[in-house]
């Protein structure tokens, strides 16, 4: 309950920050997006329609109210509601990030446990170097290399887009998650097309996140391997194998949940870059596009969604954490 109470001021501060930042932006939104292209009267009209002629305080409270009901206005340039951007492009981002996250967990936890278990051996060195290198490589560089190799030289996988034009056109969108939509339609060729396009971006993004997990899991394992209960298990004559797997590994993985939650923000940032690299029509790519077009209402809406998502995810993570770790109570 306390945890929930703490989330409220965080949301408020984040929303206030977003609102403040967008007002500092040069020129007012309508002027910035449409200036010079429409008449002065129309500018005035659009301004009134967007509620920008009201006093700042009123705009602020209106924004807060709208943010909480997820009614974030309509973009200036192409008249889309921000809500539809969230549904259409957000689902593309969700699809990408979920698969990437699964890859990150498998690689990160696997390599991390191996490195920690065989501390100071070549396995450890190799695992750590892999972690450091993967962290050191910007996701757009890894993506670029993957494109060079797998779509350029080998020609195995397409380098951009979410689906081929035909699939995009024919696909009936139910969930907006193409992997699921193609299955619902029972069209396996389309499913394969969509999967093929998902591989490079999701692996690229997944490896990025795995770097952080490798480090964390390794250090955690080193700590738990020193725990009294591990020593006690050994003293009871339990075989080393079982000591490591049942006593050390399990406990080493508890904090991963917390940190995995913290990775969410990185995941979102990484998604912006990955989407840009692979021409993935996600919400991050849309954000950059609207920023380039100076469509502040769209930008404000998308950033608000990001901020809310971050708070909600961290709240969920804490709850899950309290559930699996009896020492944590809120």
């Amino acid at each position: 309950m306390t945890r929930l109470a703490l989330a409220i001021p965080t949301v408020l501060i984040l929303l206030t920050m977003v609102f403040g930042l967008m007002r500092v932006a040069p020129g007012d939104p309508i002027q910035a997006a449409l200036g010079g292209r429409v008449s002065a009267e129309e500018l005035e009209q659009r301004r009134a329609a967007a509620g920008l002629d009201k006093p700042l305080a009123e705009q602020y409270f209106e924004y807060l109210g709208n943010a909480l009901t997820l009614d974030l206005g309509t973009t200036i340039n192409d008249d889309r509601t921000v809500t539809s951007i969230i549904v259409e492009n957000g689902s593309a981002t969700l699809e990408l990030t979920m698969i990437a996250f699964a890859i990150a967990l498998i690689v990160g936890v696997g390599v991390g446990l191996l490195a920690g278990r065989y501390r100071d051996t070549y396995i450890d060195l190799g695992g750590r170097l892999f972690g450091i290198l993967i962290y050191a490589a910007p996701v757009f560089f890894t993506g670029y290399l993957a494109q060079l190799l797998f779509s350029g030289t080998l020609g195995w996988l397409p380098s951009s887009g979410r689906a081929s034009a035909i699939v995009e056109f024919e696909l009936e969108t139910v969930t907006h998650i193409y992997l699921i939509d193609t299955l619902i339609a029972g069209d396996f060729d389309a499913f394969w097309d969509v999967t093929k396009r998902l591989i490079l971006p999701s692996v690229t993004l997944g490896l990025l996140i795995s770097g952080v997990l490798i480090r964390l899991v390794r250090v955690n394992l080193l700590q738990t391997m020193r725990g009294d209960y591990v020593e006690a298990a050994r003293a009871r004559g339990i075989p080393e194998r079982r000591v490591v797997i049942q006593h050390a590994f399990r406990n080493a993985l508890v904090p991963v949940v917390t940190v995995a939650g913290l990775q969410f923000a990185i995941l979102l940032g990484g998604a912006v870059l990955t989407e840009q690299t692979f021409n993935w029509p996600g919400i991050g790519a849309e954000l950059i596009r609207y920023l380039n077009e100076r469509d502040y209402i769209a930008v404000q809406g998308i950033i608000t969604v990001f901020a809310l998502a971050v708070v909600i995810v961290s709240l969920l993570i804490d709850l899950v954490n309290a559930f699996i770790d009896p020492r944590v109570r809120y």
């Binding site: 932006a25 670029y144 870059l273």
Partner: protein, 311 residues
């Protein structure tokens, strides 16, 4: 002469941490040298497209005249990579100076004084920390670009905003644990002013954590700078050479099999970030007692009369 505390990890490190620390230092030193002597090392200027009245050919593969080839704008890739290290080092140094001078004092004051100010600052910093850092940097860079232009300073400030909360958190949390230590209480009992206590007793203890975070943040800063450049909100191509921008241009080349425009700047990023990360990890290994390997001194035994049989 007594060695400053802050340098001690470099001499105390042994084994793998030592190896990690020193290979990191070598990598970083290499790029710092490239940055300082860029005009001497680079064959051409970063935006030079012709030499002796002859225009360089476009997207030409590596050869004698251009060791790393040329870009789509006919600039020399090697020169851009070399000058890029200058940009990267400049931004990192500026960002570190900015975020240290703001983050550390804020953390000290907030942690030591506590109370309402502390609670307020913690809330703000936590909110900043929770926000996707890249988005924050993009928005700040975007907002500043009108006032400061899209140069080194704008990029550094955008990165600073992202890292202040980290220094703040670490320093504040450490201060809180140090604040109640007997020696601080003793100083307080002797009537030392808060400022003196913070400076002489608290700061001295807290500052030890900073090098490890600072080097890890430097690594992060390089990545953020490149990401900003890649998205078009970093340093303008007319201002300086920047690796992220080069990679952005290179993505279009990938399909055509042109690898040299992206591979070299990308590798430069990886190497420099790896360098900083290795230094940070090495420092962490040495400084963090929880994961520090215990080095037991072998007990000295009197020489055995006969060779003991090994079990």
């Amino acid at each position: 002469m007594r060695m400053p505390r802050i340098l001690r990890p470099f001499t105390q490190a042994t084994g793998m941490p030592r190896w990690i620390l020193f290979s990191g230092l070598i990598l970083v030193a290499f790029f710092v040298l490239l940055a300082i002597f860029a005009p001497l090392i680079a064959p051409y200027d970063f935006d030079q497209v012709s030499s002796g009245g002859e225009r360089f050919s476009k997207q030409e593969g590596p050869d004698g005249a251009h060791l790393f080839g040329t870009t789509v704008q006919s600039t020399d890739v090697l020169s851009r990579v070399v000058y890029g290290s200058r940009t990267a080092i400049e931004v990192v140094v500026l960002a570190l100076v900015f975020s240290l001078t703001l983050g550390v004092p804020l953390g000290l004051i907030s942690g030591y004084l506590g109370g309402k100010l502390d609670r307020f600052l913690v809330l703000i910093m936590d909110a900043l920390f929770a926000f996707p850092y890249l988005l924050l940097a993009i928005v700040i860079a975007f907002l500043l670009s009108d006032k400061l232009g899209q140069g080194v300073v704008t990029a550094a400030v955008a990165i600073t905003v992202v890292y202040i909360p980290q220094y703040f958190r670490v320093v504040r949390n450490h201060v809180i644990s140090v604040r109640e230590e007997p020696y601080v209480e003793a100083a307080r009992a002797l009537g030392a002013k808060p400022f003196t206590i913070i400076r002489r007793y608290v700061l001295q203890n807290v500052i030890q954590n900073v090098p490890a975070i600072a080097t890890l943040n430097a690594a992060d800063a390089i990545l953020t700078l490149a990401a900003l450049g890649f998205l078009g909100y970093g340093i303008q191509p007319t201002e300086a050479a920047e690796w992220g921008y080069d990679l952005n241009r290179a993505i279009d080349d990938a399909g055509a099999g042109i690898w040299w425009t992206g591979l070299f700047p990308g590798t430069a990023i990886v190497l420099l970030v790896t360098g900083f990360t290795l230094v940070g990890e090495g420092l962490n290994d040495v400084l963090n007692p929880v994961i520090r390997a215990r080095r037991l001194r072998k007990p000295e035994m009197p020489e055995a009369e006969e060779e003991p049989t090994r079990a």
